[in-house]
């Protein structure tokens, strides 16, 4: 038997991005004994990479904004697939959560009268993103991190959870390993909050880092929690395409929010040809109108005309780019051109988009104040996740909570840019609170079953036992390529079935990879352990995508290119039944009349 350390805590938070930090702050503030674990060092989670901003109807720039408009935009952007109550809570609470960050020392960019400045983003009717240049995520994570370290919470860096445990129907603990020593840690917890972020690393071309292997989604499903909306995956329209080694790295939507335009190789602003019926009234009908909008907004005025089509929602823009490239109107390296150089002054570009400027000069030898960027779609954000209760953030398993990108509901079929950072704060806090309330009611917890722990450790160590079997890196790459080919932006029945068959084979191979070296900081071993999650979440995406025979938001089927009104009435759940993954249609509840009028007023 292998030794392991045991830690007892009330609330275990898995993940230290915005959601995890905010959940831990709340849990500790509620007097709970709180532990936080994360795969990387503190302050390095994905949230740090967020650029554009956090959406909240503060109405500092355009007084016409309100939670009602934010709610409507979120629902419309989500193609009405959102959890209505979550969208309502989010729109109402986001401003307070942003102001609270200011109370904790965050320094957002300012309006001329000294309030928080807000910028335009796709799908938001008014300038709504509180931001700090193009490094908003850094500001957010640093503020939360510096708040948390002065609270009574235990922080475990570079400590990765590999298994969750359940006893008598409720969650009781988690097994983790530390990267630096390769030792195992058992956390016995009365409640667990999953804040593990997304799963972009199931794809080769992605804006996400190695951490994003869908661990939380997969771990929750393994102990029987339902997942929801897994077919809805956001491909961000503007990732870098060249050089190859940075293919997928994000180019913030802030570029378009600040006036950047998309062009094909004929120099046409092709998006005018792709405006969906539902958005016809919100978008400029001509280039002149779009140019006037930018001119007004840059001058700090309220826009009197409609916004450019570049600010359509991401699903629409990504598909338009794909189509331009397929029809031969793409850029030399298989993208399209994103041009801000001809739209804004060099000094404005450097001030508002400093890290984009830096990123292109350094990585691509492109000066974005002089030349256009080449961009194309990149796997970016999963709308689906652990199904949670909108008020408490509890999953379908008692004691297991989820928040942030790992949870489902707020974003429906497509997330609006900026809604994630605000989501992390609003529902991170609610999850911390929900977990604390749960612990108060359900104390003490049952103990973890020791046999489960030993089995989990044995599984983790099994990769060392085989010699010279398959290499985990190569297998990971094969799965990623397959997902890009068969479960990408445009999907078909036949391809999805092939993907599911391929995943069965990958699953068998993933169990048999071998790793060399020891347990201390061994990345090959880490990849081997993550493969299980990649396979499982890939399967959940493919299964849900095959079931939804229509195109909606972040899910597009070339064999079913239109909306299906019947499918508008259901969300898809991923369940566990006899150890297998199952997809089930769940009817949506009717929207309360007062919210329905809000959405229909548009």
């Amino acid at each position: 038997m292998t030794n392991y350390a045991t830690h007892d805590t009330d609330v275990l938070v898995i993940g230290a991005g915005g959601a995890g930090l905010r959940a831990a702050i709340e849990s500790a503030a509620q007097g709970m004994k709180t532990a936080v674990v994360m795969k990387t060092l503190l302050g390095k989670a994905h949230t740090v990479m967020a650029e554009g901003g956090a959406a909240a109807a503060l109405a500092t720039v355009d007084p016409r904004d309100s939670w009602k408009t934010h709610f409507r935009d979120t629902m419309k952007g989500g193609k009405m697939m959102n959890d209505v109550r979550m969208a309502e809570i989010h729109a109402k609470e986001a401003p307070d959560r942003i102001l609270e960050l200011e109370e904790w020392g965050a320094v957002f960019d300012r309006t001329p009268d000294g309030r928080i400045l807000q910028r335009n983003f796709g799908g938001h009717t008014y300038p709504r993103l509180a931001h700090v240049g193009d490094r908003t995520g850094l500001e957010m994570i640093r503020t939360l991190q510096d708040k948390l370290v002065h609270m009574p919470a235990e922080i475990f860096m570079e400590t990765t959870v590999t298994h969750l445990f359940k006893t008598g129907g409720r969650v009781t603990g988690a097994l983790a390993y530390s990267r630096d020593k390769g030792e195992f840690h058992l956390f016995r917890a009365k409640a667990i909050v999953i804040c593990t972020g997304g799963l972009g690393k199931a794809y080769t071309i992605t804006s996400n880092s190695w951490e994003y292997t869908g661990d939380g989604h997969s771990l929750a499903w393994e102990i029987g929690a339902d997942l929801m909306d897994m077919e809805f995956l956001q491909f961000h329209p503007t990732g870098m395409v060249w050089p190859l080694s940075v293919r997928g790295t994000l180019v913030t939507e802030g570029v378009r929010g600040d006036g950047g335009v998309l062009k094909n190789n004929k120099g046409e602003r092709f998006l005018f040809n792709y405006i969906p019926e539902a958005f016809k009234n919100d978008v400029a009908a001509s280039e002149e109108e779009a140019v006037q909008w930018v001119r007004e907004v840059v001058a700090g005025k309220q826009a009197t005309v409609r916004r450019p089509p570049e600010l359509l929602t991401r699903d629409v823009v990504a598909r338009a780019i794909l189509n331009e490239v397929r029809e031969g109107r793409g850029s030399p390296h298989g993208g399209v051109f994103l041009d801000i150089a001809t739209q804004r002054k060099a000094e404005d570009i450097k001030r508002k988009l400093p890290s984009m400027y830096h990123q292109f000069v350094k990585l691509a030898n492109v000066d974005i104040t002089k030349e256009a960027m080449e961009v194309g779609p990149t796997a970016h954000y999963i709308m689906g996740g652990v199904k949670v209760h909108p008020e408490t953030a509890m999953s379908t398993i008692p004691g297991l909570f989820a928040a942030g990108e790992a949870s489902a509901g707020l974003n429906g079929a497509n997330r609006l840019g900026g809604n994630s950072l605000s989501d992390l704060l609003v529902f991170g806090r609610r999850a911390g609170l929900g977990a604390a309330q749960y612990v108060r009611k359900n104390n003490p917890a049952a103990d973890v079953n020791r046999a489960d722990v030993e089995a989990a450790i044995a599984h983790n160590l099994s990769f060392f036992e085989r010699k010279d079997a398959e290499c985990p890196y190569a297998l990971q790459r094969e799965i990623q390529d397959m997902m890009g080919d068969l479960v990408g932006i445009m999907r078909t029945e036949d391809e999805l079935t092939r993907a599911l068959n391929a995943l069965d084979k990958f699953e068998a191979r993933a169990k048999k990879v071998s790793v060399s070296g020891g347990r201390v900081y061994n990345p090959g071993w880490h990849v081997a352990m993550d493969l299980r999650h990649i396979v499982q979440i890939s399967r959940s995406i493919a299964l849900a995508a095959r079931e939804r025979k229509e195109s909606r938001g972040g899910h597009a089927r070339s064999d079913f290119p239109n909306y299906d009104p019947k499918l508008a009435k259901v969300n898809l759940l991923i369940k566990k039944a006899e150890g297998r993954m199952q997809v089930v249609q769940q009817p949506r509840t009717e929207m309360p009349p007062e919210l329905k009028t809000l959405v229909e007023e548009a």
Binding site: L41, V132, S209, K362, V515, S516, P523
Partner: protein, 249 residues
Amino acid sequence: MSNKMHLKVFRGDNSGGELRDYQVEVDEGMVVLDVVHRLQATQAPDLSCRWNCKAGKCGSCSAEVNGKPRLMCMMRMDLFKPDEIITIQPLQAFPIVRDLVTDVSWNFEVNKKIPPFKPKPKNPDGTWRMMQYEVDRVQEFRKCLECYLCQNVCHVLRNHGKHDVFFGPRFMVRLAGLEMHPLDDADRVKLMREAAGIGYCNITKCCTEVCPEDIRITDNAIIPLKERVADRYYDPLAMLFRAIRGKNR
């Protein structure tokens, strides 16, 4: 376009190790971190390194490349001549965990010693106002990625190992970000002089030179903080003045 390049990479831990030779295929546009990844995927699956964003935003991938402290994800391979030997080593100011990974936990302990932001009371309308020109300098400090490249080159830490009496440039930047925050109401001058050991800095500016965020650590953070300490401790008149007018003038 691709060609083979010669790399020497540190393999080992705090008890010792060696620079091991590798020949790696390098494609157009690759950065040093890509090469390390290629090594992992093909020749050295257990080679340890930290990284996350691969875009110069998280400060995880710090290392010394040909003796220069750099973020590996922002250093292009075409900076080197095709026949140049490229040496990659871990940061030198911290204990080595394994290969390119160092134990930077000391930095997190130091951070905890800095009293957190303490806001002034709000305006009657329940908000605060801050002007952009008032926050510009604080925003410069808040760009810090915590890559610790500055800590790595500061001779006070690197050569003299004064980790127990000097917080290092990163935390001078953090202190400056708090002290110059227009809404902050805490007083950290005593801490700067004593526990933080600001007097150990003799303004060599090596930290500023390596900062990937171009934070002017010495000129904009350390020197103004030194002035605050000097005002308080060596000038009774200034002290009196300050007591009357409040710290943020």
